[in-house]
Amino acid sequence: MFLGVDVGTGFTKAVLWNGSIVSFAIKETSGDLKPVLDSIVKEMRGFKRCCATGNGAELVEFADIREDDVTCLAIAGRRMVNADYVIDIGAQSITVVAVDEQGNVIDYVKNDKCAGGTGKFLEVMSSALGVRIEDVDSLALKSDKKLLITSQCAVFAESEVISHINEGESRENVISAVCDAVAKIAVSQANKLGISGKYTMTGGVANFTSITERIRRALRADYVKFPNPQLAAAIGAALLAEEL
C-alpha cells in the first residue's frame, strides 16, 4: 500500500492506495500542521512508501519522496479518468495541466498569485452574501436573473456583490453571478493552453456543480468527471509513490 499526502493551503488530503483507494482523509490545514499529519499517519498505517505534494509538502517528515502538485494532477488525471487535460481549482490556486499518454506533464499554467476564481474567492463572496459555502449550489440553481460581476480581483468583486445586494437583487441571483465569475476566470486560464480532447476538473471547487456546469458550457471539449475531485493530487502522489 502507498500513501499520498497533499498539503494544500485550505485542506490537507491523504489517500491510502492499493490499486484503488483503500481509505482517505480530508483535514483542514491549520497553523500547526503536526497534529494533522500525526493523525493521518495513525489512521493510515501499513503503507510501504509515501509521497507528499502541495504547498506544505516539505513539512511531511515521513514522506519518502516529494513531487510538485502539477505532476501529481497529471498522473491522477490520466490514470483515473484518462484525461488529456486537468483543470484544478484549489483554495488559493487555479492550475491547468496538459497530460501525455503516460500521464506526464506536457505543459501547464498556474495562477497562485491572485485569489480571483479560487476557492478563497468563492468563500469571500459567499461570506459577503451571508451564504454558507455548502449552500452555493442549491441557491445558484434558483437564480432567475442574470447579473454581472466584472472584477477578477476578489476585493473589488466583493464590492460588486455588496452593491448588487444594496440594489435589492436576490442572494440567488448574486450567487449565480459569482459562479459565472469563477467559471469565467477558470475558462480564461484553460484557454491559455487550449483545451481539446478529454478534460476533467479537480480540486475542492470542482465539488460545486454550479461551477463545473458553467465551465463545461464554455469549453468545447469532452468532459469526464473525476471521482472525489478534492483528492486528485493526493491520489497522484500515491501513484508516484507506487511507481518509485
Binding site: 493551503t9 497553523g31 488559493q92 498569485k113 491572485c114 485569489a115 478563497k120 474567492f121 469571500v124 472584477s151 477578477q152 480581483c153 476578489a154 476585493v155 473589488f156 464590492s159 452593491s163 444594496n166
Partner: protein
C-alpha cells in the same frame, strides 16, 4: 465669479471652492451609494458653510460618475481624475513632475512636463493591491483603525514580511502572523512596507522624475509615505494642502481657466 471642483471617489467625496488663487473652503465626506447624491451633499454642505448659492459657483466634476454629476446639474463640465491631479499638484508647486495618487480603489502615477501638461501615466484599478482597500483590509484583520496603521511603522521593532501581492492572500498572512504571536506593530509595519512596494512597482513602470508629490487618502498614512520615500530614494514635496483635495482643486482650476476670462 467663484470656481468649484467636485471629486467623487470610491470611499470619499471632496468639494472645494476657489476665489482667484485663494481656496475659500473645502469639504470631505464618506460617499453615499450614488455619485450624484454624494456630489449634491458634499458641495451643498460646503456652499451652506460659505453662505453661497449654487449659482455663485461654476463647478467642474471629476472622479466616479462625473458625467452623471454634470447631467444632474451639479457641475458644468467634467474632467478626468488624471488631468485634475496633474493640474492641482502643479498649481500648488510648479516644480512637480510626478504625481502619485493613491485612492480607495485605484492607484495612479502621473508624469507632467515643465508646463504642467500630462506626459504619461500608469494606473491600477484592476487589483486592490497598492490601493487604499489593501490597507483597509489589513487594518481590519489587525483590529486597528485605518488612521492608526501608519504610525505603527515608527514604533515597530522587527517589521514582518508580507509576501503575497493579492490583498486576500496578504490578509491570510496577517492572520497567521497574529496567530503565531507577532506584535500588531510589527505586522502593521510590514503591511505599510508591502503597500509601499506595490506602489513603487507601479511607479517604476512609468518612471519617476523629481519633484514628486503624493495625492489621495493613502498619503495620510505616514508609514507608507516613509517606506515609499525610502524605496524611491527621495523626499516628497509639500503641497500645503490636504492630499485628498488635489483632485477637487484641479477640477476647480480647470473651471477657472475656462470660464474665468
Amino acid at each position: 465669479m467663484l470656481f468649484g471642483g467636485i471629486d467623487v471617489g470610491s470611499l470619499t467625496a471632496k468639494a472645494l471652492v476657489l476665489e482667484g488663487d485663494k481656496v475659500l473652503g473645502w469639504n470631505n465626506i464618506r460617499v453615499l451609494p450614488n455619485p450624484v447624491e454624494s456630489a449634491k451633499k458634499v458641495m451643498g454642505e460646503l456652499l451652506e458653510k460659505l453662505g453661497l448659492k449654487r449659482d455663485d459657483v461654476i463647478a467642474f466634476a471629476t472622479g466616479y460618475g462625473r458625467e452623471k454629476v454634470v447631467e444632474a446639474g451639479f457641475a458644468k463640465e467634467h474632467v478626468s481624475e488624471i488631468s485634475c491631479h496633474a493640474k492641482g499638484a502643479f498649481w500648488l508647486n510648479p516644480r512637480v513632475r510626478t504625481v502619485i495618487d493613491i485612492g480607495g480603489q485605484d492607484a495612479k502615477v502621473i508624469r507632467i512636463d515643465e508646463r504642467g501638461r500630462l506626459v504619461n501615466f500608469v494606473m491600477n484599478d484592476k487589483c486592490a493591491a497598492g490601493t487604499g482597500r489593501f490597507l483597509e483590509i489589513q487594518a481590519r484583520a489587525l483590529g486597528l483603525k485605518l488612521e492608526e496603521l501608519g504610525g505603527m511603522t515608527f514604533i515597530a521593532k522587527n517589521p514582518v514580511e508580507i509576501t503575497a501581492r493579492c490583498s486576500i492572500f496578504a490578509q491570510t498572512e496577517v492572520l497567521h502572523y497574529l496567530q503565531r504571536g507577532f506584535s500588531r506593530e510589527d505586522i502593521a509595519a510590514g503591511v505599510n512596507k508591502a503597500m509601499a512596494q506595490r506602489v513603487y512597482y507601479l511607479a517604476m513602470r512609468v518612471g519617476v522624475e523629481r519633484e514628486v508629490a503624493l495625492a489621495g487618502g493613502v498619503a495620510k498614512n505616514r508609514g507608507v509615505v516613509r517606506e515609499l520615500e525610502k524605496l524611491l530614494n527621495l523626499k516628497f514635496v509639500e503641497l500645503r494642502m490636504d492630499p485628498q483635495l488635489i483632485g477637487a482643486l484641479g477640477a476647480a482650476i480647470f473651471a477657472k481657466e475656462k470660464y474665468g476670462g
